[in-house]
Structure formats: structure tokens, C-alpha cells
């Protein structure tokens, strides 16, 4: 176990500097591609920038704030969303998945199938957009004095977190539920389930102690997928609810969109893009590490690989 984790950590240490280089060079390419008529940029090429940064410890500034200090708070803001959303995904996904398999037919029940398929098809912004629209119209035309929950903005209380988490978690949760249900469906048709039942064990016992333990290892792969959904969803959620996190700065940095005027200091900024690549990569790789460790713990067969 320790060896496995150490090997993954080593990989992390190799990949993160590569991501930093990729992000920086992408920004330089971005500058020449999107602003062909402007004078060439005055940023250093990556090797010189790196040498300078390693010698002096100056990684660049945004608005006179050192870049790592600048991105630390957005990183934590995004991390809160990702961690809670992932927790909801795992818990809700497993529960919905287990309950949507009918114990009589050992198949996914029609209602469960409808719920998981429909839920996994809802684009996050549809849900968020409808909620915001309805509340705004209630205020404008139906004399609500104020919105019951904040429509946008940052805060670490349940009211501020509710809408972003709803939008962020609903699709991964139901995707996870769908995968849990189909894995469980396959597992319940195995011989050992029949043996366990004929021994007189209860369904609850067979579900949790026998069948579910066998699907933990494949579910960790699904957890990796869900994490990617959630991290990609950060871009949507943070733009929709104006949450100051990594996803929003990523959109500011690459999208010259009309409705985010006045963010020129972020647009194509190489320091910002390099830092974002590192931090988003860190989130994904850490989730991958946890998923890998869980699979390693759950399935002895993959230990000697």
C-alpha cells in the first residue's frame, strides 16, 4: 500500500512541473494566436522564466499580488465545492443505485432506470438557469420581497452552497447511481448470490456484504469519471453563480466573452494559466490517487500488478 502511494506521489511530482510548463507555453501560443495584430508579448520564454523564478522565488504577479498567493483563495473555494460535491456523489449515487435495483427481478426497476437516465441527462445549467429564472420572475412580477436563497456570490454557509452544489452534483450523482445499478445488476446474477440466499442470509446482508464489496473496485473507476465531470462542471457552476474559484479564472483567462468585460488582466495571462494548470491537475491527480488506493484496498487481485 505504502509503495503504491509513494509511486503515485512520485508520478505527481513529475507531472505537475510538466503541467506548469504546458500552461505557460499555452499562454504564449494563445497570445500570438488570438492577438496577431498586436506587438509581440514581453514575457520570457519558459526556460528563462523558470530559471529566474527558481533563483529569485518570483513566479509572476497579477495586480501586484504574487501569483501563488493570488490563486490560493480560488483554489480553496473550488476545493470546497469539489469535495462536498464528490461526497454527495458517492453517498447519493450508491444509495440511489442500490435502491433502483429491484430485489425481486434482480434487474434495474423501470422507475430507477427512468430516474437515473433522466438525471444523468440534465445539463447542470438547465437546472441552475430554471431556478434562477423562476426566483427572479417571482421577485419582478409576483412581489416576492427577496430571494429565499442567494442567487450568486460566495459564502461558506448552506444557503450559498446549496445552488452551486445542486448544479454541480446532480449529473455525477445520477451517473454514479446508474453505474452502481448496472454493476450490481450484473453481480446479483452470479452464482454466489444464489448460494448466499439459499443459506438463508438476508437480502440486506447479501447486498452489502457480498455483492457490494465486489463492485467497489470498478466503482473507483467511475469515481474518477465523476471527479472529471465535477471539475469540468466547475467552469459552468462558477460562471453561473459567480463563485470565485479556479473554473471562473480559467474562463476569464481563455474566453474573450462579451459578458465578462473588464477582465483584461486575466486574459491569456501566462502566470495565471500555468498556476491553473498545476492546481486543476493537482485536484484531478489527487482524486485519481484516492481512487487508486481505494481500488487497491478493495480488490486484492490488482495488488501484485
Amino acid at each position: 500500500m505504502l509503495k503504491f502511494i509513494l509511486r503515485r506521489l512520485l508520478l505527481l511530482i513529475i507531472i505537475l512541473p510538466l503541467l506548469h510548463a504546458a500552461g505557460y507555453n499555452y499562454a504564449l501560443l494563445f497570445y500570438t494566436q488570438t492577438r496577431p495584430n498586436r506587438p509581440p508579448h514581453d514575457h520570457l520564454p519558459y526556460p528563462e522564466y523558470l530559471r529566474h523564478a527558481l533563483q529569485t522565488g518570483e513566479w509572476g504577479e497579477i495586480g501586484r499580488i504574487p501569483i501563488w498567493e493570488f490563486v490560493a483563495q480560488p483554489f480553496l473555494n473550488s476545493l470546497v465545492l469539489v469535495v462536498i460535491a464528490l461526497f454527495i456523489t458517492l453517498l447519493g449515487g450508491v444509495l440511489i443505485g442500490v435502491f433502483s435495483v429491484s430485489r425481486h427481478t434482480k434487474r434495474i426497476s423501470p422507475a430507477g432506470l427512468l430516474l437515473t437516465t433522466a438525471g444523468a441527462s440534465i445539463p447542470g445549467f438547465l437546472l441552475g438557469g430554471v431556478v434562477i429564472t423562476v426566483i427572479i420572475y417571482q421577485i419582478l412580477y409576483n412581489s416576492w420581497s427577496r430571494s429565499p436563497i442567494p442567487l450568486s456570490g460566495f459564502g461558506l454557509d448552506i444557503q450559498h452552497l446549496a445552488l452551486p452544489l445542486l448544479v454541480l452534483a446532480v449529473r455525477p450523482t445520477l451517473h454514479f447511481a446508474k453505474m452502481t445499478a448496472s454493476l450490481l445488476e450484473h453481480e446479483l446474477h452470479q452464482e454466489y448470490v444464489r448460494v448466499a440466499r439459499s443459506k438463508g442470509l438476508t437480502w440486506l446482508h447479501v447486498y452489502w456484504k457480498h455483492a457490494f464489496r465486489n463492485i467497489i473496485a470498478p466503482l473507483t473507476t467511475v469515481m474518477g469519471q465523476a471527479t472529471r465531470f465535477i471539475v469540468a462542471g466547475l467552469l459552468i457552476v462558477e460562471m453561473m453563480f459567480l463563485w470565485p474559484g479556479l473554473g471562473r479564472f480559467f474562463v476569464y483567462a481563455v474566453a474573450a466573452n462579451e459578458n465578462i468585460r473588464g477582465q483584461h488582466q486575466f486574459y491569456g495571462n501566462p502566470y495565471l494559466l500555468a498556476a491553473l494548470a498545476v492546481l486543476i491537475g493537482l485536484m484531478l491527480l489527487t482524486a485519481d490517487l484516492i481512487a487508486g488506493a481505494a481500488a487497491y484496498q478493495a480488490d486484492p487481485r490488482i495488488r501484485d500488478v
Partner: protein, 306 residues
């Protein structure tokens, strides 16, 4: 069919409707989707509407059943036009991904543990680890010209590794089968074996795979559109300035109707014409739901037949 496969029927029906809309939607559209209504329109009760100044909400005028957008254009007609480019792009992307993934997957699976397999495995693991939305934005943002071909190319190039892994794993399973040994024994060449014996083993799973892939690509298009990356460039709308005689820029929107475009600029439209976003997102939801149901139904259909 003794087994009632309702996902197949529901999904098939929804998918068929949307493919028909993509084909015939534009001819069904009652109004030109590009026409901006700047004239005063009165309803039966004498209320006045000027769609280009203040968007008409849905269900208020018979002329605009789903209302008008922030440029004063009929949303119903725009939706009928918008299905075609989006669905065409999705289909093209899925076919392109399959065209890349199937030959490479067959080769990697056949040459298991060779340098080719290791190389492609490393590369695909890297690409799969990055969320497709982030990768797509990073590449599309480099090009200021948002043409249909750019979207098809980018989404094809970033999406095939997942499919290739699937094809590779299936091939490594098929490779062990007895009929492959027999085919080798009669002296069939490797390309012939791959074409005649390994590839047909993929057929049963392929329709479901295409349906699921279509839903994933469509959601990706929708998310890109929401973030402001949609097919076709934006242009400035000019409207009459009430305080002077000249024209002023009153907004910025895209010309050609496309589902992604109708989702964009959320906060700019929220107080003017939020119904545009809601109706477009509902269409997207229905399409994705239809594809997912179809995929689920096809998966069951082939599983039952076996």
C-alpha cells in the same frame, strides 16, 4: 419481442423526432430565424409589443409561441433551425471518433503488449485524464474563427481515446477465441482476420456506444455554448437610439441559430429574455435524454438477443 423494452421505444421515438427536425425543421419554421421585428405589434387586448426593443415573453403573442430573443427574433423558428447544425456536428464528431478509434483499437488490441500498444496506452491515459470540456475550450479558444469544421475537428480529436480503449479491450478478448486460431490455421492474413473476424464482434455493442457517445458530445456542445463557444461568430445588433436620430449598438449576439449559441450569455439575458435559455436547454435535455434512453434500450436489446 416478449421482453418489453420501453427504453428502446422511448429513446428511439425521441431520437427519430429530433433527426426528422434536423432534416425538415427549417422548412417547418413559420418565420425567418434571422428576421428582427422592429415594428409595433398589437395583441387582441390592445397591448403593444416591439420585439426588438423589449423581447416578447412566451405564450403572449400567437405569432411568437415561445417568445422572442434579446434581438427581437422568433425563438420557435430559431429552435427549429438550430437543431440541424448542432445535431449534424454531433453526428460528425461521433463518426469521426469511431473512424479513428476502431482501427487504432483493433491494432493495439491485436498487437497487445507491443511498443505500439504501450505508446497508445500511455497517450490515451493522458488524454482521458483531462476533462474534455477543459481540453476543448483550451484548443477552441486559440482560434478566433468559430466555424463548424473547427468544432468537429477539435471534439473529434479530443474524444477518441475513450472509445479506443473500449475497442482495444474487446479485441484482446476476441483474440483468445478459438475461431481466431482456426482463421490463422487456414492461413488468413492479419488484416483479413481483423476485418472478417475481430471487427464483426464489435457490431452488437456499436449502436449503443454511438447513442451514448452522441449524448456525451451534445452535452459538451451545450456546455461550450453556455461558456460562449458556439458555432458561428457573434455580431453587433444596432437599434434606434430613442434619444437621438442615429443608431447605437444595443447588444451582441450570433447570427446563425445554433443550440449552443442560444444558451450563451446567461447573465446578459437573464433580465431580458431568460426564456430563450430555458427553452434551448430543455431541447438539449430532451435530446440527451433520448440518446441515453436509446443507448440503454439498445444495450438491453443486444443483451437479450444473445
Amino acid at each position: 419481442m416478449s421482453f418489453r423494452n420501453y427504453p428502446l421505444m422511448v429513446g428511439g421515438a425521441i431520437t427519430a423526432v429530433f433527426f426528422l427536425l434536423a432534416l425538415f425543421g427549417p422548412t417547418l419554421a413559420p418565420i425567418d430565424p434571422m428576421e428582427r421585428f422592429a415594428d409595433v405589434i398589437r395583441d387582441d387586448e390592445g397591448n403593444m409589443f416591439i420585439p426588438s426593443v423589449r423581447p416578447v415573453p412566451p405564450f403572449t403573442l400567437d405569432q411568437f409561441p415561445l417568445g422572442t430573443d434579446n434581438a427581437g427574433r422568433d425563438i420557435f423558428s430559431r429552435l427549429l433551425w438550430a437543431v440541424r447544425p448542432t445535431l449534424f456536428a454531433c453526428t460528425a464528431v461521433v463518426l469521426g471518433r469511431l473512424l479513428i478509434a476502431i482501427p487504432l483499437g483493433l491494432m493495439a488490441g491485436w498487437l497487445q503488449e507491443s511498443w505500439f500498444d504501450r505508446l497508445t496506452d500511455g497517450f490515451t491515459s493522458l488524454i482521458v485524464a483531462i476533462p474534455q470540456l477543459i481540453l476543448a475550450i483550451a484548443i477552441i479558444a486559440l482560434n478566433p474563427d468559430r466555424e463548424l469544421s473547427l468544432f468537429i475537428l477539435v471534439l473529434t480529436l479530443i474524444g477518441w481515446p475513450d472509445l479506443m480503449k473500449y475497442v482495444r479491450n474487446q479485441t484482446t478478448i476476441t483474440r483468445q477465441a478459438e475461431f481466431i486460431t482456426s482463421a490463422k490455421a487456414i492461413g488468413a492474413s492479419t488484416p483479413a482476420i481483423l476485418r472478417r473476424h475481430v471487427f464483426p464482434q464489435l457490431w452488437p455493442a456499436l449502436p449503443a456506444l454511438i447513442a451514448f457517445e452522441l449524448s456525451a458530445v451534445l452535452l459538451l456542445f451545450a456546455e461550450l455554448g453556455f461558456l460562449g463557444f458556439f458555432i458561428g461568430n457573434g455580431y453587433v445588433i444596432f437599434g434606434a437610439d430613442p434619444n437621438s436620430t442615429g443608431l447605437i449598438a444595443t447588444g451582441l449576439t450570433a447570427g446563425t441559430p445554433e443550440l449552443g449559441q442560444m444558451l450563451s450569455d446567461f447573465w446578459a439575458k437573464i433580465f431580458e429574455s431568460p426564456w430563450e435559455m430555458v427553452s434551448a436547454a430543455t431541447i438539449i435535455f430532451l435530446m440527451v435524454f433520448g440518446f441515453n434512453m436509446l443507448g440503454e434500450g439498445l444495450r438491453r436489446y443486444t443483451a437479450v438477443r444473445r
